[in-house]
Amino acid sequence: MQSSPSRLLSLSGVDLAVIALYFAAVLGIGFYLRSYTRTGEDFFLAGREMTAWIAGLSFLAANLGSLELMGWAASAYQYGILATHWYWIGAIPAMLFLGLVMMPFYYISKTHSVPGYLKLRFGEDSRALAAVSFGFMTVLMSGINMYSMALVMKVVLGWDIHFSIWASSLTVAMYVFLGGLLSAIFNEVLQFVLIWLGALLISIIGLIETGGWNGMVERIAHNNPGQNYTHLWSTLGAFSDNPMGIHWVGIVFGLGAIISFGYWTTDFLVVQRVLAAKDVRAAKMAPIIGASFKMMVPFIVILPGLLGLAVLPERLVGEGQAVATGAHSYNEVLPLMLARYCGPGLLGLGITALMAGFMSGMAGNVSAFATVWTYDIYRPFFRKTATDEHYVSMGRWCTVAGVLVSIGTAYLVMQFKSIMDYVQALFSFFIAPLFGTVVLGMLWRRATPAGGFWGLLAGTLSSISMWAWVKLDPTALRYVALSSQAKDMAENMYRALWSWIVCVVVTVVVSAVTRPKPAEELTGLVYGCTELPAEGNLQLYQRPIFWAAIVAVVFVILNIIFW
C-alpha cells in the first residue's frame, strides 16, 4: 500500500484494525458457508430459503454500491434535494409494484433469472437477447464501479490504485466463489448494517452543527443566494428553474414510471435476491421491506451532501476543474464530511461503510452474472445436459472469470476514460424496453412470443438510435428530450420513455398479427392464467398489501413535507 502526501484522510491504527476486521469477517463468512453450498439451488438461489427480512435487506444492499453512496452525495451537493427523487419517486412505486404484482409470477414460475422468465413466457430468442445484453453489461459496469472506487481510495486515502482494485475484487471473488448467492446475501446484510452505522453519524453531527433542518436550510440559502437547493417539486415547472435542468414530466414519467420500474423490476442484479425468498409471501414482502429502508437512505446519502453545502468552507467543483485547479470535487463531499466529524475508529467505520457499499454492489454483479451465464447462456447454448455439480462448478469459475473481466474493464477505463460514459449509456439502453416486455408478458395473455422478441429488439434499437442521433447532432436534443435546454439526466429519462413506448407498441402490433400461446402454457406466468396464493386467512398485519399501503402513505407525506 503506497501513501500519497495529497491524500484527504489519514487513518490511525484503530481505523486500520476496523477495516482489517471487516475483510476478515466477509472472508470468514464465505469460508463458513462453503459447506452449505452444494447444489445449484444453493449456489445460484441460496437454497430459496431466505426470510423476507434477509431477502429485503440484501435486495437493497445489492443496489447500495459505494458509487451510489458517494455519487448521490455528490449529486446532492451539486443539485440539492432534487437528487432525492432517485430514492423516492424513482424507486418506491416500482419496488411496491414488484412486490405486489410481479414477484408472484417470477416466484411461481420457478425461474432462476429474469431472462429465464422470458424463455418461459416468450421463448429462446427473447431469453438470449436479454441474457447476452445483461451479462455483457453487468461485468462492464462492475469494472467501471471498481475503477471508480479505486480512484476514490487513491484520492481519499492515498492508496495505490492497483492495490485497491485487486484487494477488494479478489475478496469479493473469493467469498462468492465459496458460498455463491448464499454468501453474497449473508455479506450484503452485514454490509447493509455497516453502511448505515458508518454513514449515519455524519447526518446526526451535521444537523447538530447547523442547528437542525431549518438551520441547515438557512445556511444553504446564505451560501448560495438565488438558488433553490432544498425543494423537491416546486422548482420543476421549467427546465431553467432548477440546478438539474429537468422538468417534472421527465421526473414523473421518465424516472418514476419507466427507468425506475425498468431497473427495480427487471434488473436481475436486484431481482435475484428476492427470488431467494422462502415462499411467495416472503418474496412479496422483501421488496416492500426494501422500499421502507430505501425511503430512509437519503438521510445517509442526500443529507450529507446538503450539509456539505451548508458547512464546508470551500466550494467543491466538477471533476475536470478539480483536476485542473487542485480543488476538491463534488465526488469528495462524503469523505470530506467524514474527515470533518469522525475521529479515530469512527473514520475507519466510515471508510468500511464505503468499501462495504462497493463490495455489496460488486458481489451483486458477479453472482447475477454467474447465474445468467450458467443458466441462460451456457446451459441452453453450450451444454444442455450436465449434472448439477457441473453447473455449480461452472458458476463458481464464472464468478472468478466475471471478476477478472471486470478488472480488465477497470484497467481499460483507466486508459480510455470516455468508455465510462459509453458503457453507462449502453446499460440504460436495455432497461426500459425490458420492462415493457416483461410487464406485458405478465399482465397481457395475448402477448405472443414474436411480439415479445420484436418489441424488445425494437425498443433497444430505438434507444441506441436516439442516443447516437443526439451524439451526432446535438440539436436533436429538442426532439428527444423536448427541449434544447435539457441536460444529460433529462435526456436519459426521455430516451427511456420513448424506447419503452416503442417496445410496447411493437409488441402489441406484432402480437395482434401472430399466434398467441395456448392458455395452458401460460399457467404460472401470466395474470389471469395463474392461481395466486390466497391471503384471506392472514391477519391484516401479515398481508403484504397492508405494509405496502403504509409505505405508500409515508412516501406521499415525505414528498409533501419537502415539496
Binding site: 490511525s12 484503530v14 484494525a17 476496523v18 476486521l21 471487516y22 469477517a25 470468514g28 463468512i29 463458513y32 452449505y36 441460496a46 437454497g47 430459503e49 431466505m50 426470510t51 434477509i54 449473508f186 446484510v189 452485514l190 448494517v193 455497516l194 452505522l197 453519524l201 453531527i205 447538530i208 452543527e209 422462502k278 458547512v311 474527515a339 470533518r340 466529524y341 469522525c342 475521529g343 479515530p344 475508529g345 469512527l346 467505520l349
Partner: protein, 72 residues
C-alpha cells in the same frame, strides 16, 4: 434460512459490532483523556464514546440473541 446447525447472519453481525464498539469506545475514551492536537468539528460531542457504546449494546444484543444453538 434455518438449516440445522447453521449460524445466523445476525450472530456474525452482532459479534463484529461488539468488537467494533470496543475499539471505537476505546479510541473515543483515549481522545477524551488526551485531546488531539487537531480535533474534528464538534469534538466536544465525543461521538466516539457514545457511538462505541451504541455498537456495544447492539453487538451484545445480537450476539446473545442469535448465539449458535440458542437462536430459534
Amino acid at each position: 434460512m434455518h438449516r440445522p446447525g447453521m449460524i445466523s447472519i445476525w450472530f456474525f453481525i452482532g459479534a463484529l459490532l461488539l468488537v467494533y464498539g470496543v475499539l471505537i469506545l476505546g479510541a473515543g475514551l483515549y481522545e477524551f483523556v488526551v485531546p488531539p492536537e487537531h480535533p474534528v468539528v464538534r469534538a466536544d460531542l465525543h461521538a466516539g464514546v457514545w457511538w462505541g457504546l451504541l455498537l456495544i449494546v447492539l453487538g451484545v444484543f445480537y450476539s446473545f440473541r442469535f448465539f449458535p444453538g440458542r437462536a430459534k
